[in-house]
């Protein structure tokens, strides 16, 4: 059991890298689409809704396969500079995970935007603060604070989601566990050890979010 530990830890580092980059891009995408969702223009609104509906209504595995196997099928993409990115399974995984978590994040942020009390915006308006500054300095910070608990859940869901990267040949924690299983024929040792590492990561993320909630938590 001890001998398989180092390779699993190497995998865990890749898992964390995947998680960090997809959470980063996902947050940007989510913020963009949540702003589009609260836009009053019905076309923009519908587009953002369609995006989140597609990515929340289909399994992550389908999205991953669509990007990894599907995009490579398009002649035009294969000849463009984008081929450098989409031929790497690592980048395909990050694209799929970012788009997926972006959809969920946009929903979390949208509901946070919509539950901001009218009073805050009215107060800003009566103080003569411009719409733009109200948005950046009041609405966005409050929305982020309010959505911290839900976002914490999303990070943990995504940590579990990154395990799918192993099916497109990335040696993340799950991939390493599979390799150990194939090499040693000891499924219980391999998968239970990996499970313990995943649980440990979940536990750490959970506590960091809890700490942030306590520190920046917002009582309304």
């Amino acid at each position: 059991m001890i001998s398989i530990f180092p390779s699993l830890l190497n995998g865990a580092v890749i898992t964390l890298k995947l998680l960090a980059s997809s959470m980063f891009f996902g947050l940007l995408i989510g913020l963009l689409f949540s702003i589009l969702r609260i836009n009053k223009n019905p076309i923009i609104n519908k587009f953002a809704y369609g995006y989140s509906y597609f990515f929340r209504g289909t399994p992550l595995l389908v999205q991953l396969y669509l990007i990894y196997y599907g995009l490579a099928n398009i002649e035009f993409l294969r000849n463009s500079f984008l081929w450098v990115i989409i031929r790497e399974p690592y980048w395909c995984a990050i694209i799929a995970f970012s788009l997926n978590t972006g959809a969920y994040t946009s929903e979390i942020l949208r509901s946070a935007f919509q539950t901001i009390k009218e009073g805050y915006i009215e107060a800003a308006q009566s103080l003569g603060v411009t719409k733009k500054i109200t948005f950046y300095k009041i609405q966005i910070p409050i929305a982020i604070k309010q959505s911290l608990p839900a976002y914490g859940n999303e990070i943990i869901l995504m940590l579990k989601g990154t395990s799918l990267a192993s099916v497109i040949t990335i040696m993340d924690l799950m991939g390493e566990a599979r390799k150990v299983n194939v090499l040693t024929f000891k499924p219980f040792e391999a998968f239970i050890t990996a499970g313990i590492i995943y649980l440990f990561l979940t536990f750490i993320i959970h506590n960091i979010v809890k700490y942030l909630e306590k520190k920046y938590g917002f009582q309304t």
Binding site: Y53, T58, Q63, G70, I74, G195, Y198, F203
Partner: protein, 230 residues
């Protein structure tokens, strides 16, 4: 479109049966999940510390590890365990456990953890007066549960159970890694033999969207029906 025709040349009928398989696995997993939830919800609510810890361990561990891990553990581990048990009884051949059963069981264990949380929340949000009133009326303990608490618990948990159903439906795509021919596996096979992955994975995505859309419609109807009196 030719690729989707029914019959020997197209993949239409294969994909159709694969969709039925996905629905069957999801329903099976949801049912198994309910069984797990019915066992573990009382444990989580019990005042006994040990039982409480057991209930909490189940939901925390299952919700903290990837779904794929549970599936692999059951798929690879299950075969080994079954062969070990069989070898005790003197059978040394290779045993392969049915992929449908392993899949439904694995997804069921996962969906059970989510259902447990939903039921626990529902019971906690039932008005305390209901428990007291049924006690005052002198109802027996099990009748209290079946006739007063359970109906209310189910009504309160429908919205959240619809989320669990969606998660379960999407999780069934992971069983494809064990070789069970559901939507995902069938599209993988079709994509491999026609060399057109983009098309077939798009079809898979659309099939999943149709399934989630239809199930949302049905669940919304249920919700309206069970909220009639409120």
């Amino acid at each position: 479109m030719e690729l989707l025709s029914f019959g020997d040349t197209g993949w239409g009928d294969e994909l159709f049966f694969a969709t039925l398989m996905t629905i069957a696995v999801s329903i099976g997993a949801m049912a198994i999940g309910f069984l797990f939830a019915l066992i573990f919800t009382p444990l989580k609510l019990s005042k006994n510390k040990t039982l409480n810890v057991i209930g909490n361990c189940y939901t925390t561990i299952i919700r903290g590890v990837p779904e794929l891990l549970v599936i692999y553990l059951l798929f690879f581990g299950g075969t080994g365990a079954a062969m070990y048990v069989a070898s005790i009884f003197g059978y040394d051949g290779y045993i392969e456990i049915n992929a449908f059963i392993t899949g439904a069981l694995a997804i069921g264990i996962i969906s059970g953890a989510y259902s447990t949380e939903v039921f626990r929340g529902a019971i906690l949000s039932i008005d305390k007066g209901q428990f007291e009133a049924s006690k005052v009326l002198g109802l027996k303990k099990n009748i209290q549960f079946y006739k007063v608490i359970l109906p209310q618990m189910l009504r309160l948990s429908i919205p959240n159970l619809s989320n669990v159903w969606q998660i379960t439906l999407k999780d069934t795509s992971l069983i494809s890694v064990t070789g069970l021919v559901e939507i995902m596996r069938q599209s993988y096979i079709a994509a491999g033999s026609t060399r057109d992955p983009l098309f077939f994975y798009s079809v898979a995505a659309v099939l999943y969207l149709i399934l989630t859309f239809l199930s949302m419609k049905i669940i919304n109807k249920l919700e309206v029906r069970y909220n009639k009196g409120f």
